[in-house]
């Protein structure tokens, strides 16, 4: 593999905490903790996790909306923080972001023209004729009628608004798009439209995607690599087919077992509480251990590192006792708690 487009090492973001005038220092909340991740040019990396696992924080760190507390991000060899410091716009020209809620990411008092023109003007320095031409091009690229450009965001449906959000991200001509749950707020029929559009744009503009979602089936259709997050850490990473064929981490299996498939076998519900640990006093070992049916003593004492399962094979898991063998939902087990 050549140098990755995105090279993340030990990325950490802590919220809150700090010194107090009296008493002991306050504990911070680790939203993202020691993440190592490579994204190759042209990849679509899916990042999966449930609410509170830190996937949105990771996204914000990548596009520079937030600053890491520790660790580094290198983009095509350049340090991201240096890039940000040198030129406010340099990062935004390379990495762009698509928001989850299409309507709240569009200023309600601005016309689509103004929303799309901003990145063209400030990031690409376009004016006059060239700007107009590019605006028309953008609307065409995301399949919106050219006359829509004079309208206000509230006149659009969710799917159309999301396409405007995508057009805005594309306006800066980026190489990497960070898509933060881009289809979660949309109806299924619209969801499929937007996924199709994203797939086409990727091929057309040679984009690299970081696709964040809580929905395994959506991530599966669009990604060629998947990373699973739990409680601020990456716990498993593999090519999509490998991951769905033989998920190694018990949490990944729980996720797969819980996702209902239309007409599919019954889902399995976890026994006990399906809750995250208290972020202010995280367990010393693996964060999943309290929920894990396979947890042993070593899991409760040390955090398992994200390692290759089998040397030479491209499948990483952060587990001392990974599950082997292919995954198959047990069809005989019904969805009930015992």
């Amino acid at each position: 593999m050549s140098t990755p487009l995105l090279d993340i090492r030990g990325l950490t973001r802590t919220f809150g905490g700090g010194r107090r005038w009296f008493g002991p220092d306050r504990a911070g909340v680790h939203a993202v903790q020691g993440i190592n991740l490579d994204v190759a040019r042209g990849d679509t990396l899916g990042i999966v996790g449930e609410s509170g696992c830190g996937k949105s924080t990771l996204a914000r760190l990548l596009v520079g909306l937030d600053t890491p507390s520790g660790g580094t991000i290198h983009y095509a060899g350049d340090d991201l923080q240096q890039l940000r410091a040198q030129d406010r716009h340099a990062l935004a020209r390379r990495i762009q972001y698509v928001f989850q809620d299409p309507l709240s990411s569009l200023n309600p008092r601005k016309r689509i023209r103004d929303i799309l023109a901003a990145p063209l003007r400030y990031l690409r320095g376009l004016e006059g004729q060239a700007l107009e031409y590019r605006l028309g091009e953008l609307m065409e690229v995301v399949n919106l009628r050219p006359e829509f450009i004079a309208r206000y965001p509230h006149e659009f449906s969710g799917g159309q608004a999301q396409r405007i959000g995508i057009a805005r991200a594309l306006a800066a001509d980026p190489e990497l798009l960070v898509l933060d749950e881009p289809v979660s707020a949309l109806d299924v029929s619209i969801q499929a439209q937007v996924l199709q559009l994203l797939r086409r744009l990727k091929a057309e503009f040679d984009l690299t995607y970081l696709f964040i979602s809580h929905d395994l089936s959506v991530v599966e259709t669009i990604s060629n690599r998947i990373a699973v997050m739990y409680f601020g850490r990456l716990i498993e990473q593999a090519p999509t087919r490998q991951l769905f064929h033989a998920p190694a981490h018990p949490y990944t299996r729980v996720l797969l077992d819980s996702a209902p498939i239309p007409g599919g076998p019954p889902i399995k519900a976890e026994e006990g509480e399906a809750e995250l640990p208290d972020p202010l006093s995280p367990p010393p070992g693996c964060a999943f251990a309290p929920r894990c049916p396979r947890a042993q003593d070593d899991c409760r004492h040390t955090v398992p590192p994200l390692d290759n399962l089998v040397a030479g094979k491209d499948h990483l898991a952060a587990c001392f006792h990974p599950i082997e063998g292919p995954w198959q939902r047990i069809a005989t087990q019904s969805a009930q708690e015992r």
Partner: protein, 634 residues
């Protein structure tokens, strides 16, 4: 802009205030060209002439000056000073507020503590002190009034800005390459402008009063210049022998301030988005029912627990009628779970809310149909009876438990209330029952959890409390409106399992509303697919998922990405559903259907039976060569 004016005009009082203010402003604007006596020429021979005297329609004051002339010139100055002061206060105050709210942190702290210091002094004393330092005079009074009103703007605008500064479109603007100044000016300002206008419109009147107050004390306008306050001050000395000298400016102050305040309230109501969305129009506790005739019960539904026949619910907004539910019929047998599936706007939630008259009215109206619970038509019952049914025979579980649980009461107390509403039970007994309910929904350590507030529970736990509350009175039917949509998949799996178990143990029937076919196939015995306010297909879940008859059902299933089948690419449905105020003739899906022909766009397409237990609203159902001619017409 036009809608804004019509909104104001619809508010009678505001319109009255606006017209009055317009007249006054016009009058003072043309004052220099009116044939009036010079306001400052004294004529001691004609002192204290009463109103309606020759040449002096409003009389003269102690120095023989024409009161009408002084009144108009004085109003001109008072208005100008009041408006100028509020503009200055608005400009500086809003600037401080926007900057403090946007940057937050230390900037916010420094600026707002400064504002707090201004507010620590009594209002009018501070103004007096400022004038005392600057010396009396109209301009200084203006500064004083402006300064004491800055905190009012700064605090209001800061609050609004803080709310906007964390919205996603601000992040988006930042990623579009806009700097802080640009974001302040072009993203935040347009969104706080209405609030600035509202704040101004409600303070201008107050500032005119304050200016008048300072002039009254002799600190504002200096003689011989007239403004309303100083005229009032001069007239005060001869209140008994020449009351008109004080009464006339007093009346003018009253008129000006009243008209400004009336108009200001109108502007506030028209601009405030919360008021515009109808938050202040209290919906009735029951949906309005306007059926032209009472439909006869359908005999095929005799043994059903709940039968809904040809239900129609409209939203009437102004002159538009939105047909949200457009002739929906279905039946639920005891202990059955019926799924109601559809995309947003398909009318599934409105259907559910219509059953017990929970659709907000206005704008909702039930215009036709029958909702029978064990044979009784619920739309025919008096309100008291419906209220006794709600939560006892039929209960709801909503999507967002954080929104449906009261944030200020412990969950145990809320359960006790739900129980005691319908069952005569002592508080202690109800408490025991509440704890046992929490246990039934598998909440660990229920006695302890009952003492907690909703925000102390996780999303999954809150939804369990919501389900416990729905179970409180052993209902025959639970209506669950997207109960797992806001939850993570692992929690969703647990909640679905819980609902299944409760159904088995208690024999409750469930109407399960969702957009997710995966969830439907886990939990529902039968499923009804809704599109544009109508059921397009209904039947047993398994057969519908395997062999959908309606093209919409087929395509909706095809859009769902299926876990474990990455090659099976989801196929999008082109286009959008029709608008609910312009439903097309014939099949509402025809526009998006690749099998549509001319006949699909004509007449009313009925729900027809294709198999013994299935019905579909399509003239050429999939997988059936010719539809059975004797369709069940509903």
């Amino acid at each position: 802009m036009m809608t804004f004016i019509t909104l104001i005009a619809r508010n009678r009082l505001a319109a009255f205030g606006g017209v009055m203010l317009l007249l006054i402003v016009l009058l003072v604007l043309i004052t220099p060209w009116l044939p009036l006596a010079d306001p400052n020429i004294t004529e001691t021979a004609n002192r204290l002439m009463p109103p309606l005297s020759d040449g002096h329609p409003l009389g003269t004051d102690a120095l023989g000056r024409d009161i009408l002339s002084r009144l108009l010139w004085g109003t001109r100055i008072s208005l100008a000073v009041g408006v100028a002061a509020s503009l200055v206060a608005a400009l500086i105050g809003s600037m401080i507020g926007i900057v403090a709210g946007y940057f937050g942190g230390r900037t916010d702290n420094t600026l707002m503590r400064g504002i707090d210091m201004l507010m620590a002094f009594p209002y009018i004393l501070l103004a007096l002190a400022i004038v005392a330092v600057l010396g009396p005079g109209l301009m200084n009074a203006l500064y004083a009034i402006a300064i004491v009103n800055i905190p009012f703007f700064a605090r209001n605008i800061r609050g609004v800005t803080v709310g906007i500064a964390h919205r996603e479109f601000i992040d988006a603007a930042r990623l579009s390459g806009k700097g802080n100044l640009r974001i302040l000016a072009s993203e935040i300002l347009p969104n706080v402008l209405p609030v600035i206008v509202i704040t101004m419109s409600t303070t201008v009147g107050w500032m005119i009063l304050e200016t008048a107050g300072l002039s009254f004390l002799g600190l504002g306008a200096q003689p011989p210049q007239a403004d309303l306050g100083s005229m009032l001050g001069e007239g005060r000395k001869m209140m008994l022998n020449a009351p008109h000298v004080a009464t006339v400016p007093g009346l003018m102050i009253f008129l000006v301030v009243m008209s400004i305040n009336l108009l200001g309230d109108g502007i506030r109501d028209a601009l405030d988005p919360r008021l515009k969305s109808g938050a202040l129009s209290r919906p009735a506790p029951f949906t309005r029912i306007r059926r032209r005739h009472k439909p006869l019960p359908d005999p095929t539904n005799d043994d059903a627990l709940l039968s809904v026949e040809n239900l129609q619910t409209d939203f009437e907004v102004g002159h538009d009628t939105y047909q949200a539910v457009n002739g929906v019929s279905f039946a639920i047998q005891p202990n059955e779970c019926l799924g109601l599936v559809g995309e947003s706007g398909s009318g599934k939630s409105v259907t559910a809310l219509s059953l017990l008259g929970l659709v907000a009215s206005p704008p909702g109206v039930i215009t036709d149909g029958r909702v029978a619970l064990a044979g009784r038509d619920l739309l025919d019952l008096p309100h008291g009876d419906i209220r006794r049914l709600r939560g006892r025979d039929v209960s709801y579980v909503f999507q967002d438990p954080l929104a449906t649980l009261h944030p200020l009461f412990r969950v145990g107390d809320q359960l006790v209330e739900a129980i005691r509403q319908h069952q005569p039970m002592s508080r202690a007994d109800a408490r025991t029952r509440a704890v046992s309910l929490l246990g039934q929904v598998r909440i660990p350590n229920p006695a302890h959890r009952a003492e907690q507030y909703p925000h102390e529970l996780s999303g999954g736990m809150r939804q369990r409390v919501g389900i416990a509350m729905a179970l409180a009175n052993d209902p025959q039917l639970i209506i669950a409106d997207e109960p797992t949509t806001a939850l993570d998949v692992t929690v969703q799996a647990q909640i679905l399992a819980l609902i299944q178990n409760l159904r088995r143990e208690k024999g409750t029937a469930v109407l399960f509303i969702t957009h997710d076919f995966g969830v439907v196939s886990q939990i529902c015995d039968r499923v009804a697919v809704m599109y544009a306010g109508r059921i397009v297909e209904i039947g047993p879940t398994k057969t519908i998922l395997e062999t959908p008859r309606h093209p919409y059902t087929r395509r909706l299933i095809d859009c769902v990405p299926r876990l474990g089948e990455p090659d099976n690419e989801p196929v999008a449905i082109p286009g959008l559903p029709p608008a609910a105020d312009a439903l097309p003739e014939g099949c509402a899906f025809a526009e998006r259907c690749d099998l549509a022909e001319d006949a699909c766009r004509q007449g009313n397409i009925e729900l027809i039976a294709t198999d013994t237990d299935r019905q579909v609203r399509c003239i050429k159902p999939l997988g059936i060569p010719t539809p059975s001619p004797q369709g069940v017409t509903r």
